[in-house]
């Protein structure tokens, strides 16, 4: 399974000169900054710095870009924990428990837990990738559009059922998100729900809508409060507590391992990957916990589950890129650009012929995880000072920041207007008990769900029997059904069996 000769060549490639490592540190810092600023995306950071890789050899370019990826995966958790703003779509589940911990004054611990889970997740994820890169690529090839529809529906319904006390309202939120995502030109070449506006022809800008629903709506609510953390004593920044949080994540090896496995395998599915992996891992942690009710109220296990999955989904998406040459998301699409700039084509042949380079990329990520620990322990306490900023200053500053960021995402005023509209929608959703996370995940996956459903229809010729030939899709649909109605069914069956 492991090619010893290529392994030694990879080690030689990485450690014969310190040069490759010198670009890793700025890469991680860039990723941390872009991940931590709402509105700036990891893919944007990689795209902005992609031209720099022209002056690097392929190995250095990959180290630099994966370092941005690694830093950004953790960076996204910082605003998720401190401000309830998922810096990236893969940090959605981190907000569920990270933000309540911050409001309780446990922001240092929460950030430490996120840092620990992210770093261990990267190590575990790339270890799995190192051992299983070929089988993973074979499994990914078996995932067709029918499976992708099933996975995205499962993710949306699951989070809808989890994040709202009312199952109906959770599911309505998810369906609403999916529908909104289909606004604009569809696969049939006609525009829907655009009100005749040219701005809506390309659909609703998803990331500004996500920022509006998560962040701005929460900021409206916080505007009258004095500080993010109410108690004076709880607002202090403590490196000791960050380290305590880091140790907490080490004490949860099973949650990390499960999250990492989910992250690698779900992350490898193009288009679905990291957005769903963190939610599935969170759900699994909640279901297996002895205190499921504490999830969503500041249970650090929720952060461990989410962060271990989203950092390993990076490994999964890189597996797809290396093994099949298919980018799993925007960030890996930029990496594919780096491949093209260096005249390299990913795919089975690349893995066969350039095994040493593949191993070097994987091994470099182990090193990046350790560097992230060191850099994170320096950066996190600095960023934790945000809890000391009075809300009078924090709220308008973050609102202005997301306005700039959303303009950056769309290139025109559609972004800021989308933030405004969806912040009001998000506020109404929160106030009346709908699930904002389910609506956001629906928004993120709606486009992919529709195109996958169309491909399934075209492949099957409209025959339902086609589903019977897709056991993985059936299994996922079964899991979806069980997630929604499993407990009720068991509840209905239990009295009969006890009689």
């Amino acid at each position: 399974m492991i090619d010893g000769e290529s392994f030694l060549a990879a080690l030689n490639m990485l450690f014969s000169s310190p040069l490759p490592w010198l670009i890793v540190i700025p890469g991680i810092l860039i990723g941390l900054v872009f991940g931590a600023i709402p509105g700036l995306q990891i893919s944007m950071a990689m795209a902005v710095f992609l031209p720099m890789t022209l002056y690097m050899d392929f190995m250095q370019a990959m180290l630099f870009l994966t370092a941005i990826f690694t830093g950004g995966a953790f960076g996204g958790s910082i605003p998720a924990i401190l401000m309830n703003i998922p810096g990236t779509s893969s940090s959605i589940a981190t907000t569920f428990d990270g933000y309540p911990m911050s409001r309780r004054g446990e922001h240092n611990v929460a950030l430490g837990v996120a840092l620990g889970a992210s770093c261990i997740g990267v190590i575990v994820g790339y270890s799995i990738l190192f051992l299983l890169i070929s089988p993973i690529s074979e499994i990914v090839l078996k995932v067709g559009p029918a499976e992708m529809v099933a996975v995205s529906l499962w993710g949306i319904m699951l989070i809808g059922a989890l994040s709202s006390r009312s199952l109906l309202k959770g599911v309505i939120s998810g369906l609403a998100g999916l529908l909104v995502a289909t606004v604009g030109f569809g696969e049939a070449g006609v525009a829907r729900g655009t009100f005749g506006s040219a701005y809506l022809i390309d659909g609703i800008p998803v990331i500004p809508a996500m920022i509006g629903m998560f962040a701005a709506s929460e900021l409206f609510r916080l505007a009258r409060e004095n500080y993010l953390v109410k108690q004076d004593a709880a607002r202090r920044v403590s490196i000791r507590q960050v380290l305590a949080g880091f140790r907490q994540s080490l004490a949860r090896p099973w949650i990390v391992l499960r999250g990492s496995l989910i992250g690698v395998f779900v992350g490898a599915v193009p288009g679905v990957g990291s957005s769903v992996a963190n939610l599935l891992s969170y759900t699994a942690a909640k279901r297996s916990s002895s205190e499921p009710d504490s999830f969503g109220r500041g249970n650090s296990d929720g952060i461990v589950a989410s962060e271990s999955a989203n950092s390993t989904s990076e490994a999964g998406s890189i597996a797809t890129l290396l093994a099949l040459g298919i980018p799993g998301g925007a960030a890996t699409a930029v990496m594919l650009g780096a491949f093209a700039m260096h005249n390299i084509t990913g795919g089975p042949q690349f893995i066969r012929e350039e095994t040493d380079v593949v191993y070097a990329i994987i091994l470099a990520n182990f090193g990046q995880a350790f560097l992230l620990i060191a850099l994170g322990l320096v950066v996190v306490p600095l960023l934790a000072h945000v809890v000391k900023v009075p809300m009078t200053y924090l709220v308008p500053s973050v609102l202005a920041l997301v306005t700039f960021g959303s303009f950056g995402l769309t290139g025109d005023l559609t972004g800021p207007v989308t933030v405004l509209v969806f912040s009001i929608v998000g506020w109404a959703f929160r106030r009346y008990g709908y699930s904002v996370p389910a609506a956001v995940v629906g928004l993120l996956l709606g486009d992919m769900t529709e195109s996958s459903l169309i491909y399934t229809y075209q492949i099957s010729g409209g025959q339902w029997s086609y589903l019977l030939e897709r056991p993985i899709a059936l299994l996922i649909l079964g899991l979806l059904f069980a997630s929604l109605f499993g407990r009720r069914l068991i509840g209905l069956l239990m009295p009969k069996t006890s009689r």
Partner: protein
């Protein structure tokens, strides 16, 4: 995860309004999609989702009404005033006036960006927000608004590959 309580008497009306708006939007969107094209490829996802969403909205509407009626009769039996419900049991405890003030200011900021630009617009938004929330120290109010506003405008105008609307920095 925001754990929110079920509907209560204090905001049942709002809850029903949100449901009605959601259902109306779903119906409008579905009709618009059908009007655009009856092709299977156009409706393959939109139609079943719309039907499901509308049916669930209707079901939730009826559940909310029933819960309100049950709660109403229970309260009548207990003869307890509505105001005695614990605040923690309510879904949204923030006042409408506070939220509308912030939303209004944010909307003004976003919608006037084409004229005021990101530089002046941001400075004015920050200053107005600080003033409305009790900041009366002019040095801080102006210093922070101008400093933060221009710093952000400069940073993003240098970072982004396309021109941003600016009133002063654009002319510089």
């Amino acid at each position: 995860m925001s754990k929110l309580a079920g509907p209560t008497r204090t905001n049942t009306a709002g809850d029903l309004v949100v449901l009605a708006v959601l259902a109306a939007c779903v119906v409008f969107y579905c009709v618009d999609a059908i009007r655009a094209s009856r092709d299977v490829l156009n409706l393959i996802l939109v139609l079943p989702l719309s039907v499901a969403a509308f049916a669930l909205c209707l079901a939730q509407f009826l559940i909310t009404l029933r819960e309100t009626r049950v709660r109403g009769s229970a309260t009548a039996l207990r003869e307890e005033p509505a105001a005695e419900e614990p605040a923690s049991a309510r879904q949204g405890t923030e006042s409408f006036a506070d939220v509308f003030r912030v939303v209004g200011l944010f909307a003004f900021y976003v919608l006037t960006l084409p004229w005021l630009g990101f530089d002046i617009g941001t400075c004015l938004f920050l200053a107005a927000f600080l003033w409305l929330h009790g900041e009366r120290r002019w040095s801080r109010l102006l210093g922070y608004s101008i400093g933060f506003g221009f710093l952000m405008a400069l940073f993003f105008s240098r970072m982004l590959p396309y021109p941003m609307p600016m009133l002063l920095l654009g002319a510089a």
